[in-house]
C-alpha cells in the first residue's frame, strides 16, 4: 500500500495551522484538533513519530519550529511517508533559499499550496524533483535577504517534460564555463566506554557534486575500494577503516546513478544538484 495521504498539515509550535491541505474525504475536517489535543498537548509529543488516534494514523516530524503532519486512514507505507516529508522539506528549502521555518512558510504560503498541489495528487506522491517543478511553479519563493544565490529564471516556454527518463535534469542547459565541484563530507562516529575502550566506530561520508556542465554529459567517478570496485557520484557511503585500503560496507546512490553498471565502470548523468 502506498502512502495515500488524506491530509497534510503544517503547524507551528503552538499548534496554529500554517498550511492545511485535504486530499481525501476519508478523514474528518478537524483532524488537526485531534492532533493538538492528543499529541501536542500531552507528554506523548516526541515519544513516537507515528500515532494512531481513532482509526487515523498521524505521522509527524518537527523541522525547526514547524510540525509537518500527515494523516492517513489506511495501512500506509511509513518509510515512504517520512521520506516524502524529508524530500518535500528539502524542496521547500530550495525554493526559500535554505531556510524552512514558520516565517518562511507564512511568507510563501501561496507557493507552498502550489507545490503541494503538484507533489501530491489525491494523496499519492507525484514528482518532487525541483528541476521539473520549476517548469510548472509560477511563483517565486521569497528568500531571506541574506541568501544571495542567483535565481535561474524558469524557462517560460519550456515544453513540459513531466516525467522524462531523466527527471533530475533539464534538457538544453548551456553553461559558458563548464565546471564541476566535488565536496566530500565525512562524519566520524565513535562510541567509547567509560574505561576508554572503543565500542563502536564508523565513518559516514557523502560525496556531493555540483556541476555546471552543458548538455547531457556522462560522468565517471571512481572510488578506490579494497576490491577495486569503482563507484561513482552522489554517494552516501559508510566505509569502515581496515588497514590502509578502504572497505566499504554499503553505498547508496542518488537516482541519477546508473545502478546496474555498479560492478564495472559506470556512467552517470548529472544535474546541477541541490545536495
Amino acid at each position: 500500500m502506498p502512502v495515500a495521504a488524506s491530509a497534510i498539515y503544517f503547524l507551528n509550535l503552538r499548534g496554529d495551522v500554517l498550511i492545511n491541505r485535504l486530499y481525501r474525504d476519508d478523514v474528518g475536517g478537524n483532524m488537526v484538533d485531534a492532533f493538538r489535543t492528543h499529541i501536542m498537548q500531552t507528554k506523548e509529543l516526541g515519544t513516537c513519530p507515528v500515532r494512531q488516534i481513532g482509526g487515523c494514523s498521524f505521522f509527524y516530524m518537527r523541522i525547526s519550529n514547524v510540525y509537518i503532519v500527515i494523516v492517513v486512514s489506511s495501512n500506509a507505507n511509513v518509510a515512504c511517508a517520512f521520506k516524502f516529508v524529508v524530500e518535500a522539506v528539502s524542496l521547500f528549502k530550495s525554493y526559500f533559499g535554505g531556510t524552512f521555518d514558520e516565517d518562511a512558510i507564512r511568507n510563501n504560503f501561496v507557493l507552498i499550496y502550489e507545490l503541494l498541489d503538484e507533489i501530491l495528487d489525491f494523496g499519492y506522491p507525484q514528482n518532487l524533483s525541483p528541476e521539473i517543478l520549476k517548469l510548472y511553479i509560477t511563483q517565486e519563493g521569497v528568500r531571506s535577504p541574506f541568501s544571495s544565490k542567483p535565481v535561474d529564471r524558469p524557462v517560460p516556454n519550456a515544453t513540459l517534460q513531466v516525467t522524462g527518463a531523466v527527471g533530475w535534469r533539464r534538457e538544453g542547459l548551456v553553461y559558458k564555463k563548464n565546471e564541476v565541484f566535488l565536496d566530500i563530507v565525512e562524519s566520524v562516529n565513535l562510541l567509547m566506554s567509560s574505561k576508554g575502550s572503543v565500542l563502536r566506530c564508523d565513518v559516514t561520508g557523502k560525496i556531493l557534486m555540483k556541476c555546471f556542465l552543458s548538455g547531457m554529459p556522462d560522468l565517471k567517478l571512481g572510488l578506490n575500494d579494497k576490491i577495486g570496485l569503482e563507484k561513482e557520484s552522489q554517494i552516501k557511503s559508510r566505509p569502515t577503516k581496515s588497514g590502509k585500503t578502504i572497505e566499504l560496507d554499503d553505498v547508496t546512490f542518488h537516482q541519477c546513478v546508473n545502478l546496474t553498471r555498479f560492478n564495472s565502470e559506470k556512467n552517470c548523468q548529472f544535474c546541477a544538484s541541490r545536495r
Binding site: 502506498p2 515512504c80 495528487d121 516525467t163 527518463a165 566506554s193
Partner: protein, 826 residues
C-alpha cells in the same frame, strides 16, 4: 474545511477575527470583477492571497465564493491557481455555487496551454460534489487521450477521484478499461504509475462486489504485466518505483529460475538512496523466497547491510520506520543480526523512540556469545539521567536474563542496580527480580539477601511495591523481618492508594501467616479487618474469601493460597505466531510499526466503540455522527445484561442436562451463583460440616477479629431480571451472539423445511419467521419465554443457533426448553 465556529476557537487571539476583513475583501473583489484596467491582475493577486491566507488560518471565507468566481475570468495563471485552490476547498460546502465554477473549469479544460488543461481538470475532479459528476465524465475522457503527458497524468488520478465520488459513474463510463489501456501503452512513466495506482485502488474496492473486477485485479499480477513493469522500472520516479515493487511482491513466479531472474534484475534497487525503495525491494525479496528456505536466509544476509545503512542515515523518523522493520526481521531471524549488535547501541543524541527500539533489538539479538557485551552496555544506560531510558534498559536486562543466557552475571548486575539507590532504578529492578525468581527459584538466596535491605518506604511505585510485597510473602521464611515489615505496611493501609498493592498485601500476609503463624497472627487480623472494610470490590472480596477459607479449614486455605509452585519455564508470548506472520505479510506498512495486523487498526469493528466515542467526546465532531454512536452504545449496555444472563442460562442448561433431576428448586439454587461466590463453592461452603462452627469461632478469637459471629452476611444474590421486551435488530443480536462464549452447542444439519417445521410446531400465532436468508434471526415468543433463532448458512449445511430468554421462572420451564431442543434435534 472546518466550520467557522470551531475555527474561531482554534485561531489564536492574535489572528483577525474575520468578519470585518471578509466583508472588506468582498467589496474590493466586487469592484475589481468588472474592471479591465491594467494592473487589475496585480490587485487581484493581492486580494486572492489575502483570501487564501484567511482560509488557511481557519476563517470561513465561503461568503465571497461568487465574487471569487466572478474574478476568475483571467488569463493569469497565478490567479487561476489560487482560484482553483479556493474553489476546491469550498465547493463541497456550497454545492449550488459550485455549479458556477463548472463553466469556467470546463472552458479551461480546453485551453491551449497543457498546464492550464491539467490544472483545470485536477480542480474539476477535486470539487467532490456528487451531483456534478456528470460534468466530469467528458473532460476526463478527453483528458485521458490528451496529447500532453501532464494532462494524462492528472486525468489518471482524476478517474480515481471520480470513483470515490460516484463509483457507478466511473464504472459506467468504462474508465478502468481506458486506464488499463493507457497503463500498458503510454510512454510516459508517471502516467503509467498513476494509472496503476488508480486501478489498484478501484479494482481493490470493486473486487468484493464484482467478479470481473476481481479478475482484473488478478491480471495486474499476471506475468506479462509484471514483466512490462519490471522492464521499465528505471524510468519510474522513486515513488512510482515503490508502487511497482509493492505490486511485484504479490506476484507468484512459476519457478525458481524466474525468482532468480526477478531478483537479479532488482538487486541494484537495494542501493537506491530512497529508503522507501529499498524497503519495498526487501519486502519483495522476502516474499518471493518464502518457499525457498536457504535462499531466504541468503536474502537476510544480503539485505543486512542496506538496512543498517538506512538506520544510520536520514532523519530519526526515518530510522524509526526502518528500525521497526528491522525489529520484525530480528524477531524472525535473530542469529543473522547477532554479530552486528553494536549497530544497535544507542547514541546520546537519538530521540527516545529510536533508543527504545534499539533496546528491543538488543534484547532480541542477545545470545550466548554477545550477552556479556550487551548487558555491559545496557548497564551503562541504566545510570542514564533520562529516566524513561534508564527504566527501559533495566527492563531490557531483565528480558535478556529471562532468555536464559548467562543468568549468573545478570543477576549480580541487577542486584547492583538495587544498591544504586535511585528510586526509579530500584522500582524497575524489583519488578524484574520478582519475575526472575519465578523462573529461577534457585537464586532466591542471593536476591533475598539484597531485597531484604530495601526499606519499603523507599519504594513508592505500585508495581514495584507489589513486587516487593510478593517477595516478602513468598520468602517469608527466609526473611527475618518479613512479618514485621508487612505489619508496618498494614498499619498504613489507608494511605495505600493502589488496589493492586492492597491485594498483594492480603495475599502476602496470608502466606506469611501460613508459615510463621505466631508472629503474623495479629497483622493478619488487622489486614482482614481492613480488607473487609475496603471500598474496593476486589480487595473486599479477597479479604472475605480468605476469611471464610481460614474459617473453614486452614489446610485447605494453605492449599489454595500457598501451594507448592513450579518454576515458570516460559513466560507467555503475547502475540500468536499467526499474527506475526500476518504482520510479516504486510511488511513495509504501518502494521509493522504498530506491531499488529492491519485489520486491527483499519477496520472500525476492531477499534471498538469505546475508543471511537472517546474520540467524539474530545473532538466534538459533527453532531450527526455523535448521535449515531451514542444510542448504539446505550443499546449495547442494555444488551449486555440480557446476553450475560442468556449465557448463564445456557450454562445451567448444560448442567441440568447432566443431572437427571429437573426440578425447579435445584435449578433455582444453581442460578444464584454470583461471581464472587463461585469461589465459595469450590470449598463447598454451602453445606458446612457441623464441626465448623466452633472452629470458625476459634479463628475469630485467634485473629482477634472483633466481628460478629456471622461476619458480614453474604450479600443476597442479585435477582436475575430479564427484560421482557428485549428488542434487538438482527444485526446487533448477531454481533452480541458471537461475542458470547459457547455454553452448550449441538450441531445438526437439517433442511429448511425442518426448520420451518419447528417454528410452526411451536404453535402459537405469535410465532413468525421472516423469509430465510443466510444470517437471519427470528423470534418466537410466548408469555413464559422467548426463543431466538439465529440461522446461518455455511456451505450447504444450515446452522441454527438458539437463544432462550425466560420471562418468568416457572416449574415446567425446563421441560419446555427441553422440548424445544428436542425439536431442533428432530
Amino acid at each position: 474545511m472546518a466550520p467557522p465556529a470551531q475555527s474561531q476557537k482554534s485561531a489564536s487571539p492574535s489572528q483577525p477575527s474575520g468578519k470585518g476583513e471578509v466583508s472588506d475583501v468582498k467589496m474590493q473583489l466586487r469592484q475589481l470583477a468588472g474592471s479591465r484596467s491594467p494592473g487589475t491582475d496585480d490587485a487581484k493577486r493581492e486580494l486572492f492571497k489575502k483570501v487564501i491566507s484567511y482560509m488557511t488560518i481557519g476563517i470561513d471565507v465561503s461568503s465571497v465564493f461568487s465574487e471569487m468566481v466572478m474574478c476568475s475570468a483571467t488569463s493569469d495563471i497565478v490567479l487561476k491557481k489560487m482560484c482553483y485552490l479556493y474553489v476546491g476547498n469550498y465547493a463541497k460546502y456550497n454545492p449550488d455555487l459550485a455549479l458556477l465554477t463548472i463553466n469556467f473549469l470546463q472552458r479551461d479544460c480546453k485551453d491551449e496551454d497543457p498546464m492550464i488543461r491539467g490544472l483545470a481538470l485536477r480542480s474539476l475532479c477535486s470539487l467532490r460534489v456528487a451531483n456534478l459528476v456528470e460534468y466530469l465524465v467528458g473532460p476526463l475522457g478527453t483528458g485521458l487521450k490528451d496529447g500532453n503527458s501532464y494532462v494524462r497524468m492528472v486525468a489518471a488520478i482524476g478517474v480515481l477521484k471520480l470513483y470515490h465520488i460516484s463509483a457507478s459513474t466511473c464504472m459506467d463510463a468504462d474508465f478502468p478499461a481506458m486506464l488499463k489501456h493507457l497503463m500498458l501503452n503510454d510512454k510516459d512513466a508517471q502516467v503509467v504509475a498513476n494509472c496503476l495506482t488508480s486501478l489498484q485502488e478501484i479494482w481493490g474496492l470493486e473486487a468484493s462486489t464484482s467478479e470481473e473486477a476481481a479478475r482484473e485485479r488478478e491480471t495486474l499480477l499476471s506475468k506479462p504485466v509484471i514483466y512490462y513493469f519490471l522492464n521499465r522500472i528505471k524510468e519510474f520516479s522513486e515513488w512510482a518505483q515503490c508502487i511497482v515493487l509493492d505490486l511485484v511482491a504479490k506476484y507468484v513466479p512459476s519457478d525458481s529460475n524466474e525468482i532468480f531472474d526477478v531478483m537479479n534484475l532488482l538487486e541494484d534497487r537495494l542501493q537506491h538512496a530512497n529508503g522507501a525503495v529499498v524497503l519495498a525491494t526487501i519486502k519483495m525479496f522476502l516474499q518471493l523466497t518464502l518457499s525457498m528456505t536457504d535462499v531466504h536466509q541468503q536474502v537476510y544476509e544480503r539485505i543486512k547491510a542496506p538496512l543498517l545503512t538506512l538506520v544510520s542515515s536520514g532523519s530519526p523518523e526515518q530510522s524509526y520506520a526502518v528500525l521497526s522493520h528491522l525489529h520484525l526481521l530480528v524477531m524472525r531471524a535473530p542469529f543473522i543480526f547477532s554479530s552486528d549488535y553494536k549497530h544497535f547501541y544507542c547514541q546520546y543524541n537519538e530521540p527516545f523512540y529510536v533508543k527504545k527500539l534499539k533496546l528491543e533489538m538488543l534484547t532480541a539479538v542477545a545470545n550466548e556469545s554477545n550477552t556479556y557485551d550487551i548487558v555491559t552496555e545496557l548497564c551503562e544506560y541504566a545510570a542514564n539521567v533520562d529516566i524513561p531510558m534508564a527504566r527501559e534498559s533495566i527492563r531490557a536486562v531483565g528480558k535478556i536474563a529471562l532468555q536464559q543466557y548467562d543468568v549468573n552475571a545478570i543477576v549480580d548486575r541487577l542486584l547492583q542496580f538495587l544498591e544504586m539507590e535511585k528510586e526509579h532504578v530500584t522500582a524497575e529492578t524489583l519488578v524484574l527480580v520478582k519475575d526472575l525468581l519465578r523462573k529461577y527459584p534457585q537464586w532466591s538466596h542471593d536476591c533475598i539477601a539484597v531485597v531484604g535491605n530495601i526499606s519499603s518506604k523507599n519504594v513508592q511505585e505500585p508495581k514495584a511495591k507489589a513486587a516487593l510485597i510478593w517477595m516478602l510473602g513468598e520468602y517469608a521464611q527466609d526473611m527475618q523481618d518479613a512479618p514485621y515489615i508487612l505489619e508496618s505496611l498494614i498499619e498504613n493501609w489507608d494511605e495505600e492508594h493502589s488496589a493492586e498493592v492492597r491485594l498483594h498485601l492480603l495475599t502476602a500476609i496470608m502466606k506469611c501467616f501460613l508459615r510463621r503463624p505466631p508472629e503474623t497472627q495479629k497483622a493478619l487480623g488487622a489486614a482482614l479487618a481492613a480488607g473487609l472494610a475496603d471500598f474496593h470490590q476486589d480487595v473486599h472480596d479477597r479479604a472475605l474469601f480468605y476469611y471464610r477459607l481460614l474459617k473453614y479449614n486452614v489446610t485447605v486455605a494453605e492449599r489454595v493460597v500457598d501451594p507448592p509452585k513450579q518454576a515458570v519455564s516460559v513466560f507467555a508470548d503475547t502475540q500468536s505466531s499467526e499474527i506475526k506472520d500476518r504482520i510479516f505479510d504486510e511488511f513495509n506498512s504501518l502494521s509493522v510499526v504498530y506491531q499488529k495486523p492491519s485489520y486491527m487498526f483499519t477496520d472500525k469493528e476492531h477499534r471498538g466503540p469505546f475508543e471511537f466515542s472517546e474520540e467524539l467526546g474530545n473532538l466534538s465532531i459533527d453532531t450527526e455522527l455523535a448521535d449515531n454512536v451514542v444510542p448504539a452504545q446505550r443499546v449495547e449496555a442494555n444488551d449486555k445484561d440480557l446476553l450475560l444472563s442468556t449465557s448463564e442460562k445456557e450454562d445451567n442448561h448444560g448442567a441440568s442436562n447432566n443431572s437427571s433431576a429437573y426440578n425447579a428448586p435445584s435449578y433455582d439454587g444453581s442460578r444464584m451463583v454470583a461471581a464472587s461466590q463461585a469461589q465459595q463453592d469450590l470449598v463447598s461452603l454451602d453445606q458446612p460440616p457441623p464441626a465448623d462452627v466452633p472452629a470458625s469461632l476459634a479463628i475469630d478469637d485467634l485473629l482477634g477479629l472483633g466481628l460478629p459471629v456471622a461476619p458480614s452476611p453474604a450479600p443476597s444474590p442479585p435477582a436475575l431480571k430479564l427484560n421482557a421486551k428485549a428488542v434487538l435488530d438482527p444485526n446487533s443480536f448477531q454481533q452480541k451472539w458471537r461475542q458470547l462464549p459457547l455454553a452448550a452447542s449441538q450441531e445438526i444439519s437439517m433442511n429448511p423445511q425442518g426448520v420451518s417445521c419447528i417454528v410452526k410446531s411451536s404453535g402459537s400465532s405469535s410465532a413468525y419467521a421472516r423469509s430465510f436468508h443466510p444470517l437471519h434471526c427470528f423470534r418466537w415468543s410466548s408469555p413464559e419465554l422467548q426463543v431466538l433463532f439465529l440461522r446461518t448458512k455455511r456451505g450447504r449445511a444450515f446452522y441454527l443457533s438458539c437463544g432462550l430468554y425466560f420471562n418468568r421462572l416457572c416449574p415446567n420451564l425446563v421441560c419446555l426448553r427441553d422440548q424445544s431442543w428436542k425439536k431442533m434435534i428432530e
